[in-house]
Amino acid sequence: MWAYVLRRILYNIPVYMGVILFLMLLLRLTDPVTAYLGKNPTYDQYITKRTNFGLDKPLLGDWQIGGRTWQEATGGFGGSHMVKGPGKGNAHVQWTLELPQGTYRLQATWPTRTGEDGQRVSLGSSGLVWWRVFEGNLHLRTIPTDQTRPPRSTEAYGVGWHELGTIEITRGEPLRVVLIDDSNKPVLADAIRVVPVRVSQGEPPEPFTIDATPDASDIEVKDDPWTFTRFVRSLWDNQYFSALAGIVTLDFQHYSWSVESQSVGNVIGSSIIPSLSVTLPVLVLTTLISTCLGLIASFNRGKPLDRVVMFLAVLGMSVSYLVYVIVGQYFGAQWPRLAFNVEIFATFGYKPVLPLWSQVQQSLQDSGVEDPGFFRTLVAWFASVPGSLSKWPYYCLLPVLIGVIVAMGYDTRYYRAVMVEECNKDYIRTARAKGASNSRVMFRHMLRNALIPIITRVMISLPFIIMGSLLVEIYFGIPGMGFKLFDAITNKDFPVVEAITAVLAAIFILTNILTDVLYAVVDPRVTLK
């Protein structure tokens, strides 16, 4: 059997690697940093978030092959423009202008075409293109632009211009306008326009434009050339392999974007047990109760007892989860308290079912122990386990009961169907003929044979119990994975989304293997080869 398990695991490793690659590609279809920061981030914010999530490295291999140089293309202001594939800020197009001291408005344009409805449509595909403006070496500002939209702040020379902002030349050094290739989509360089507002002496000159062409004297075009060493390094030093290494070592390095001080590992680690403290009891209780009910119902098929059980099951299924939660909260927690001043369950909140290591350490320190060692903390931890566990009914039993009521309807119907099928098999008739009692037939013969569908159903729900239940978590204040994932998705917290999804995929694959093994254990007809 072990050989089989090993083989299954080995077979699943490449599958899992493929899943992770697919997941990472999916999350990177648009630029995660832009999605998180919106359209107007500062350059520093952008760079911090990007480095934090490792997005400055290639995903797998060096994605820039073929897009390392600026190419001339037709269209745009003056009939041509330049385009470069996605890059990391190593390449740029720079306009250098000698201007008298004064105030100037800077504008930029990029090529457009006329769409079907007569509106202008941009040829650009990058939603975030960075312009950096310097006077000599003094950095004046960094401006994000969206090249997916046509430039349209003003019109001049028959094209639209996008306002980059107003700058001031105070020292009389040359103005440098730099368009960098720091983007995950191709970047277009076309032309800039300078509109003098005020100059220190005399009348401001007329606005003028400078078109980007590789051979113009005031334009510097810098490429990001291909080098062999960088290519080799990118084969292993990339996002994909660091993500895999993180999963294998269970060490999730990235930090959450919405709560920057919290590591992704911490987010997951702190929410698995709260999730399990509700979902695991729900699964165990529901499975036990509904298999029994299913057995009884199938045994009494067509009789009033069966009808009643099925009626209740359908009733349980047809009422919304939320109704159970709200009604349960009221009658389970609120009403006893208001009417009789009896406190049975908490309406909201959670205390750890297992003591937290850091809390134990803290309370030891509070009671005067200077530096509690590992062993001392371990003893104290075990001592506080009963105390923590004793809080479980108060905080978690009510959501568990609600969860059981909701899940029972579905499960009972399913298990009854399974059992009904078994009822008609020959071996049942044989068992009866041999004089076996009803309960012996039910629990010894039928249940054992029906174990395969039961195991399948339980195993399929395992990944979901680790994910927890969003509704229960929100309404009862249980800090589980369901809420964490939901919150991460709504906040576009990509590092957390990616890690939780990766963990979930791993659990799916592990339960798959486990299911196969369990089949063999319960059913001698199945052999593991």
Binding site: Y255, V267, Q329, A333, S384, G387, D487
Partner: protein
């Protein structure tokens, strides 16, 4: 199972049960007599506990317990400032170049929390250097994101230049001097302002300007990590015990908190009747432990308030009819019987609809144009908006100055200006504008940002204006597009709301100051030299009857020219459970939890 084995099993089970029970009792017994107050945070709570990075109300709520600012609004009257980390209120003079100089003196008894980042783990005294360091952090684009730089921008002499220098430097140099920050001694310093604006002092009460120790930032943020925002070290009455992001936050009493006392003077008669003055002279903080829980859904929030677990809540609109009798607007009988009380706090809100004064149709200053705008104003029934969209909880008032501030008209009404709905007068005005019964008047384009709420409001506006023959052409835009078009002065009539940044009418009057015209905050592009002159003068004045009189003149000028339709201010309803004592909840600042007490016997 044989009898003997059964016996052993029973004894073992009994022993195990005893141990469990003993542990359980012990763990309950540990919950000693220390005073705990449980408080809510709506939504997922703070994202960071680093004041320089914080921005939301919940960042504020958490940081204000742990950190302190130089000044703090007074608990007795939140429109007044009082010293917090300062010894006395700062004094101001003008230097030889005519620039305003504020002189500050720090308290000698303010110490940081004990923390491993300090030598020997002992918190040290707050000095001038800490103040400068904390302010400079706001300029540090890379270190703290520069999100809160707007508070300091264009305020202190040389500070903007300092920021520009550091932005382009390889590393941010905190030791480089800023011209306008002058250290006199370890506890005294001067600040030279580039513009003598009164609001500077109000910025010093905002939590983003809290004083943080450099050691802690450098200790926790070493090697590029951002752990300072989860390991706050401040001077406040409470220290962080545990923060579980998006779930709960616990702070405990700072054992070394300086001698600070509950305020004795300044209470209004109303407050005295509520018993707020009784604890006068007691040492702060009054409660040992504050436990915050985050509530994403309002239902459990309400249930836990009803259960008397939470000390207070801000009443969600959906629960208004549970807490109050919708007809009489009195508090629900069952709640009143249990001792629940409430406080209404008017918000510094200015919800209004603006005309673009440069528009060819509705803009302009001639009597006809003013009559047209007046006709629109008179046809609109703001009380109906209040009833339909805000459960009648808003205050309708005249002018741009929200309730509670200097310049707010008595009872919200300026008697010389008739308020809508007055259809007869509206028709008269319309005739005066040259459009009798709306004849010849093209539809007026009215723009709002895309949302269900706005769509319903626009429908009501349309219906109300049609009563006198004014037609509205509805334009719905995404918010960024709305802003962009407003900034380009393309829209004639549009809806906006403004929340005061600090309790001074100057903040709202600036919305009509000509140099602030679009793309600035004067979206009406209102321009009247007399108004601008008054504004420039009043901005530099300290509060007082003279300044209030000027505010009133400016307000009446606006009402006469009618560049906007308004105004509405929302009210917050705070429900308070009887066990929470000394409560005077407000959203203006959050450092008032130290004044709260809890009655454990209830």
């Amino acid at each position: 199972m044989t009898p003997i084995r059964y016996q052993t099993f029973a004894i073992g089970l009994a022993a195990a049960l005893t141990v469990v029970l003993a542990c359980a009792t012990l763990s309950f017994a540990q919950q000693d007599s220390s005073k705990v107050l449980r408080l809510p945070m709506r939504t997922v709570g703070p994202n960071t506990l680093d004041p320089a990075k914080g921005s939301t109300t919940y960042d504020n709520m958490a940081c204000s317990q742990i950190y302190e600012t130089l000044l703090e609004p007074s608990y007795t009257n939140p429109n007044e400032l009082k010293p917090l980390l300062l010894d006395t209120l700062p004094t101001s003079t003008f230097d030889d170049q005519g620039r305003k100089v504020w002189r500050f003196k720090l308290r000698e008894d303010a110490f940081f929390h004990d923390n491993p980042c300090f030598p020997g783990g002992k918190g040290r005294r707050v000095t001038t250097e800490d103040v400068f360091y904390s302010w400079k952090r706001l300029a540090d684009q890379r270190g703290s994101g520069g999100k809160n730089w707007w508070l300091m921008a264009d305020t202190i002499v040389g500070f903007d230049e300092y920021k520009a220098m550091q932005d382009q430097a390889a590393t941010f140099d905190y030791d480089a001097p800023v011209e306008g920050l002058r250290k006199s001694s370890d506890s005294e310093f001067e600040v030279v302002l580039s513009q003598p604006v009164y609001r500077f002092l109000w910025i010093l009460q905002m939590f983003q300007t809290s004083i943080v120790p450099r050691e802690a930032v450098e200790h926790y943020n070493a090697d590029g990590r951002d752990l300072f925002s989860a390991n706050p070290v401040g001077t406040g009455p409470y220290m962080l015990r545990e923060w579980r992001p998006k779930q709960s936050l616990v702070v405990v009493r700072n054992p070394n908190y300086r001698e600070a006392f509950y305020p004795a003077d300044g209470w209004s008669q109303d407050d005295i009747e509520r018993g707020l003055a009784e604890p006068a002279g007691r040492r702060l903080p009054l409660v040992d432990r504050l436990e915050f829980s985050m509530y994403v859904e309002d239902n459990p929030l309400w249930l836990n308030f009803e259960n008397q677990i939470l000390g207070y809540i801000e009443l969600p609109y959906d629960f208004f009819e549970k807490a109050f009798n919708p007809r009489t607007r009195r508090i629900d009988r069952n709640l009143a019987r249990r001792g629940v009380t409430y406080i209404v706090e008017p918000q510094l809100d200015f919800i209004f609809r603006q005309f673009n004064m440069e528009d060819e149709l509705v803009g302009g200053y001639t009597p006809e144009r003013i009559a047209l705008r007046r006709a629109i104003i008179l046809a609109i029934d703001l009380e109906e908006f209040n009833r339909s969209f805000y459960a009648g909880l808003c205050t309708v008032y005249d002018g741009p100055i929200p309730p509670g501030l200097d310049g707010y008209p008595e009872g919200g009404r300026v008697p010389s200006v008739p308020r809508g709905p007055n259809l007869e007068l509206a028709r008269e005005m319309l005739a005066k504008a040259g459009y009798p019964n709306g004849q010849g008047l093209p539809p007026i384009r009215f723009a709002t940002s895309r949302s269900d709420f706005n769509a319903r409001q626009t429908a009501m506006l349309k219906r109300q204006l049609e009563r006198v023959g004014i037609r509205i052409e509805e334009i719905t835009l995404d918010f960024p597009d709305l802003i962009a078009q407003v900034n380009r002065r393309e829209l004639p009539f549009f809806g906006f709301a403004w929340s005061s940044d600090y309790p001074d009418a100057e903040n709202n009057l600036a919305l009509f100051y000509a140099p602030n015209a679009s793309p600035g905050s004067n979206h009406a592009n209102y321009s009247r030299p007399e108004y601008d002159a008054l504004y420039e003068q009043a901005r530099l004045m300290d509060p007082g009857p003279e300044r209030t009189a000027m505010y009133e003149r400016m307000r009446d000028m606006l009402l006469a020219d009618a560049p906007f339709v308004g105004s509405l201010a929302r009210n917050r309803y705070f429900m308070i459970n009887p066990h929470m004592k000394n409560a005077k909840p407000t959203q203006r600042f959050w450092s008032w939890f130290k004044f709260l007490d809890t009655d454990q016997t209830r």
